[in-house]
Structure formats: C-alpha cells, structure tokens
Amino acid sequence: MIALPLLVALPFLALPLVAMGLRARPAAAPLLALLPFGLFLALLLLPPGAAFTAERLPSLGLETSFRLDGLSRLMALLITGIGAGIFLYASAYLKGHAALHRFLAVLTLFMGAMLGAVLADDLFSLFVFWELTSLASFMLIGFDHERAAARRAAQQGLMVTVAGGLAMLAGFLLLAAAAGTTRISLILEQAGALAAHPFAPWIILLVAGGCFAKSAQWPLHFWLPNAMAAPAPVSAYLHSATMVKLGVYLLARLNPAFQEAVLWQGLLTGAGGLTMLTGALLALRERDLKRKLAWSTVVALGTLVTLIGLEEPLSATAAVVFLLVHALYKASLFLISGIVDKKAGTRDALVLRGLARAMPLTALAAALAGLSMAGAPGFIGAFAKDLLFTVQLGVPGLLPAIALAVNAAMVVVAGVVAARPFMGRPMEADRAVKEPPLAMLAPPLLLAVLGLLFGLLPGPISAALIEPAAGAILGRPTGVALGEKQGDELVLLLSLAALGVGVVMYLGWSRLQPRLAGQEWLDRYGPDSAYGEVLRAVSRTAVALTRRVQAGSLRRYLSLTLLMVFGGAGLVLVLAGGLAIPGQAAPVRVEQALLVLLIAAGAAAAALMRDLFAQVMGAALVGFGAGLLFLTLGAPDLAFTQFTVEVIAVVLLVAILARLPFRALDARRAAERRNDAILAGVVGAVGVAVMLAILSVPFDPRIPEWMGQAAVPEAKGRNVVNVVIVDFRALDTLGEIAVLLIAALAAAALLAKRGGRREP
C-alpha cells in the first residue's frame, strides 16, 4: 500500500514550495489549508488495515513500515482535520507577519512528522518522526525568538521532550531485543510473552518515561504551560490537540503488550492521577487564559494516561472518546483565546468581560466548546464524562474522589475561559473590539459545532472511529457502542455533583484565585524551578570541570597526554610480559654505526644546546644524517626525498626564525627542565621497549614478497617503491597529497589574516 508512505511524504515534499512560494506570495497562505484537508479526505478513503513495509538493511533487521489501524487512523484524522482549520486560522492570525512563510513551513514539517509518527509501524521510524515533532515544536514555541521567555520555553520544551525521547530510544532498543523485531504490529502479537520477559520492567520504565515527557505527565508537566509562549494556533495544534497526545498514543499503542504488567498499570494510573490533581489545582490558580487552558490540558492528558492504565474494556472506549472530545473543544478554546487576545488586547481572565455583544459568533463558539468541556447533556463531552465516571467508580481507592474534584475544577475552567470573558458589562478596552475575520472564526466555530453534532448523532462515529481505536488499545474488540447507557444512578449523581460543585466554585472564583495565587511555595518548589536549578548546576559543573581540564597550558596538556600514552604502554608491556629483545637482526656495518652516532649527537645538540642557532644546526644534522642512513639501508628514494625536504625546511625555518625575536630563550625554570628531562627519558625508554617488542614478533614477509613479484608484471614498473606509491597504494597517496594541499590552504588562510597586533 504505497499510499501510506506517500501521505507521510507529501508534507515534506511540499516544504520547499511552502517556504519559497509563501515568501514570494504571502497572500496565498490560506490556500495551504488545502494540503491537510486533502490528506484528511485521502485518509477517509483509505481502507483500515492498510500496511506498507520497505526493507532498508535486512542484515540489521532495519525496515520502514507504515500501518493504518483504528487508533492511528483516528490520530491521523485529528492531525489533518484539525490541521486544516489551524492552517486557515494561522494564515489570518499572523497575516502580515514577516516570517509567516517560515511559520507555516515549520507547521507543515510538524504535520508531516506527526503523520509519520502515528502511521509508523516500526520502532525506529516512529522514533525519528517523534523527535522531529520535538524539533518542530522547539521552532514553533521559539517563533517569537526575540523574547527571552519564548526562547527559554522553547529550550525547556526541547530539553524535556528530547531527554524523554532518549530514554524512549533505550527502551525501544530493549524492546526490539526482547521481541526480536522492530515492527510494532509483530511486537503486539507476542503480548503475553513480552510482559513476562526479564527486560519488561526496564522497557516499561524507559518507554513510559519518554511518553510522560512528551505528554506532560507529572513531574515532567511543567514545560507545557511555559510552551504557551507560542502563537495561539501552535498552542491549539501542538500543545493540545496533537503533539502532546503522541505520548498518550504510544502508551495506548503498546498497551496490549504490557497491560498485564502490574508495573505498567501502577505507573500509568499513579502518574496520571498525580498529573490530574496537580493540573487541576494549578488551573484554578492561573488567570492567563492560555496558561489556564494549558493546565487543563495537563489534566486531560493525566486523565488519558490513567484510563490507559486501567484494564477494563470500558476504559479503552472512555480514553478514545475523551481524546476525541478533548481535541475538539480544547483546540477550539485555544483558538478563541487567540481571538480574544488579539481583539481585546489581553488574556487576563480577571480583566476580560462582556465581549459577547461585540463578538457574538465568537461567544457562541466559546459557549459550545465550553459546554462540551463541562460535559453538558447533548454534547459529546457528556458521553466522555459518563464513561469517565463509570470507569473511575469501578476502581477502588482514591480515584473516584480525585475524579470528582478534577471534574469540578474542569467545570470552573470551562466557565472562566468560555463564559466569563463574554458575560456582563462590556469591559473598557484600548481598542474597538470586533469579530475576527472569517478565516479565524470558522475553525473554532466548526470544531465546537462538531462537538454538539457528534453528541446528538453518536452512532456513525462510534462504529467508524471510536470502536476500531478502542479495540486497538485493548488488543481485542470492546463491544461498547457510544450512546448506550453505561452508568447507573450513582454515576448520574456524581456527574451532577461535579457540575454543582463546579458551578459554585466558578461563582466564587474571582475571590478564590488571588488566595491560590498567593501560595508562592507552589512556584518555589515545583519541578519548573528544579529544572532551572539542574541547568544552573550543569553549567557550574561544566565551568568548574573546564577550569580543571582545560587549564590553558600546552605544556600540561602535552605532559599529561604523553604520560597517559607512554605510561600506559609501559605498564601494559611490563604487566603483560611484553618486554623482549629480538633474537635475529641484520648485521651492523661500520658506516651505519657512525651515522647513528652522528644522528644521536645531532638530536642531543638540538635538545640540549642553549643557543637557538646551534639547535637548528643540530636538527639539520639529524635530517641529513637520516638521509645518509637511508642510503646505507638500500633506500635511495628516501635519501633524496629527505635531502631535498631538508633544504626546503631549513630555508623556511631560517626565513621564519629571522622574523621571530631571537630572545626566545628557554624560559623553563630549572625544576621544570628537570621534570621535562625525566619525562623525555621515560618516553624515550618506553619507545625503545615498544620498538624492541615489535621487532621480537616474527616477521611475515608475504606482503613485500608479493610486491616484489607483482611490480613488473602487473604495474609495469621496476622501482617497487614508486609502484607502491602510484599504484598499489595510490588511494593512500591521493589522500596524502590532499593533506598537503589542505596544510598549504590552512597556511594561506593564516598568512592572509592581516590583523593588527592585539594587546596581550
């Protein structure tokens, strides 16, 4: 089914067109919404169960697979469907912005990555797309990069999600090792065996860690509200409807494999419950509309994770319904908060009021979305709420109480965000408040109306979307249809109680909020400040470590390196019994012995004389002596090369030394010189020992013998050395002359730098 990878590839292929085309013609931006809309239609037409696999490295078991099942289909439809609205909205929201083309290009990239992540059927493709969404999120949160807060939020989001992603990669590697395959659909088939595998606890911890970071679960939830520094369409798209659901998606995807494990259930319900509570408390405390919505998103994500952790057929259905419901109303509310922010000039819930008269359609959209969020009868939100209560009542322990409190808090948030800004006397604004353009109004209104429509006619989506997705989470059909009465009287009662408590709290919220906001310990001791502390500690440690390791002294670096290398080599030689004297050796001729003595004397002069000129003479003696020694060893080519190089080197050395100050006396103190001499002696001695050990190994003459025999017949040359250079090892020579050229280029760059003398 080639259509699947094509669907994923399309947004990526469109990227250059989007970036360059919209730069030239920003007015065409609304047309870009056709891309996600087209993908949405294509996804509707694709048969469920479509799959695609392409092997990449069969020897390593690497492949690229895509697969469309109920769960990934629901996610992909949300990504493209809501995406169409978001693209339309964004083109109006950022109309006239100089970087609109960049914004929409990154948004397109994000959509492609999201589609890839939910459609991928192999762990590593999933991982790559997963990380791509983190990168896109980083660029979108930091879109307003001239603000420090946006940069910090972007960095924080990236750090948290990518750190989680790394943990997840480790988990994936273990999972692939345990299952013997990277294909997710094959992994899920061996569900029972995997949960009992010895790796299972590690896999669960690592993969869940990555999902918790992505889906903002306690204690990694703090990045999400900070991410509200992004423009409103980003908050609606990435940080409520799609990207933050990716963690939930993966947990749901892997649920059939691990649902039997107690650790899985405990981890998910525990983290989810804590996340719900934390999010609810902080949502009540917040007065910025967008951050308030962000905290309620944290609550929703916690709810979803809890539902996946509960092992009941009904909980899977509840999770899917709630995921859909939340995506609809939360995206809508985020978009509305963007409208309010733009038109009324503030997002402060305590200031905003009476906007309904100036923007009735916006108020209508807000009311519909808010009612769905509060779970009012007739809206699809009501089903979600009933299912939630039914599931959570069935669980012993604290969960029902948490559910009640959290639901009441959500009613308050819905009221404060969706009703309060629009009711009452019109506020005093510094501008004339009016309805936004249609491109900004239509998406939130449509999403909110869908919430009502699905609530009135639950049948079609239940069979087409909900049941297949819930079945994928559970690993078997759920047998639950939406619209059937699930709960009993108690559920109804609880539902009404949550509504009642919520309404009462909403009425007193303007008095409750300042009291909650006064609790400053919540800011001081949260994970957000811990994150800051960790970053500061990393910087401090890095600086302290750098001061120690990078002391800025060439002498110290060199001494340490030499000590490590030659000390280590000496230690190995002594401990492993490598000390040896070669038995056989060629005889020494008189002239060779004399030349060796001459070279050694030259080296001693170069190293020990005080006068620089005498040192240069000593070094030249070494070079010419070595050339003569090469002659006696049957290497005329080497001798000639050495002589000519020596002449050129001496010319260059003298030319350069003549430009350097001749006062360059050895500035080492006596103790330093003594230590250096000792180190030099040790290095020399170890060097001799290593050479002797090498020479003690029996010599294998096959290579030189082959070279001697092949030179004439195969390379048509009688000088074997030259044949080796230009033929047998020609590639090596090519690399070496490239190095020569690079050295000359680097020197040319140094010479071309004509800077003034800097003050020391």
Binding site: A600, A603, L633, Q709, R718
Partner: protein
C-alpha cells in the same frame, strides 16, 4: 641493525619530547622536526632490514632479487617525510602568525582561547539580563 635503530628511535623521541615541552615556540618546532625523523626511523625499522640493496627490479627480470630492502615501509616513509614537513611547516607559519598577532612566542602565554576567567554560560542569567516582554 634493528636494535640499533630502536635505540636511535628512543634518542630521537626523547629529544623531541624535551623540545616539545619547552615554552618557546621555535623550540617546539624543532621538536616536531625531530619527532618526524623518529617516526620515520620507527617505520623503517618495523619493516626490518631484509637487505641493503635498493628495491629495484633488474632490467629484464620479472621479480625483485633476494637481498633487496623491504619496499613497503620505504613507500610509507617517503610520503611520511613530505607529510611531516607539511605539518612542521604549518606549525612554523602558525608560530609566525601568533607572533604577529599576539607578540608572544611563549606557549604558556597563549591564553586567548582559554582565558583565566571564563564568561558566564548560565542560560538563566543570560535570560534575566535582558528585558522580558512577557506579561503574566
């Protein structure tokens, strides 16, 4: 012969290290020259002294006669001579550029890249240093 070459390698290596550790850059350059020679001797000795005749096939013959030297280390050393000259020459130019730019030839005085006091790398402090436009 090989043992003698090994000893010579040790002497050249020790001399090179002693010079490389010096504080004045001209000495460091001389140290590099010696180090290059030491490496060449080591490679040559590692290929053994199989013979002292040049590895040239006699005209008309098809293969190298016995008693010829090992051609492989010679080829390696030949390029190594030129490469080590390239390295040394580059360091010479570098020393000259350092003298031109910084007016020092003392390796210990070269601290531009690693100054005694590092600038702050704390992102939070950097963020606080500029005005925040966000209204909470």
């Amino acid at each position: 012969m090989e043992i003698l070459l090994a000893l010579l390698f040790g002497v050249l290596l020790a001399g090179a290290v002693h010079l490389l550790l010096a504080r004045s850059l001209p000495r460091v350059i001389l140290g590099l020259l010696l180090l290059g020679n030491a490496a060449n001797i080591a490679i040559l000795a590692g290929g053994r002294v199989l013979g002292t005749a040049p590895p040239l096939v006699s005209p008309g013959a098809q293969a190298l006669a016995a008693g010829a030297a090992n051609p492989l280390p010679q080829a390696l050393v030949l390029t190594a001579i030129v490469i080590s000259f390239g390295l040394t020459a580059f360091v010479m130019v570098l020393a000259w550029a350092v003298w031109k730019g910084e007016a020092v030839v003392d390796a210990e005085a070269l601290r531009s890249a690693e100054p005694p006091a590092l600038p702050s790398t704390d992102p939070a402090e950097a963020a606080e240093a500029e005005p925040s436009a966000e209204a909470r």
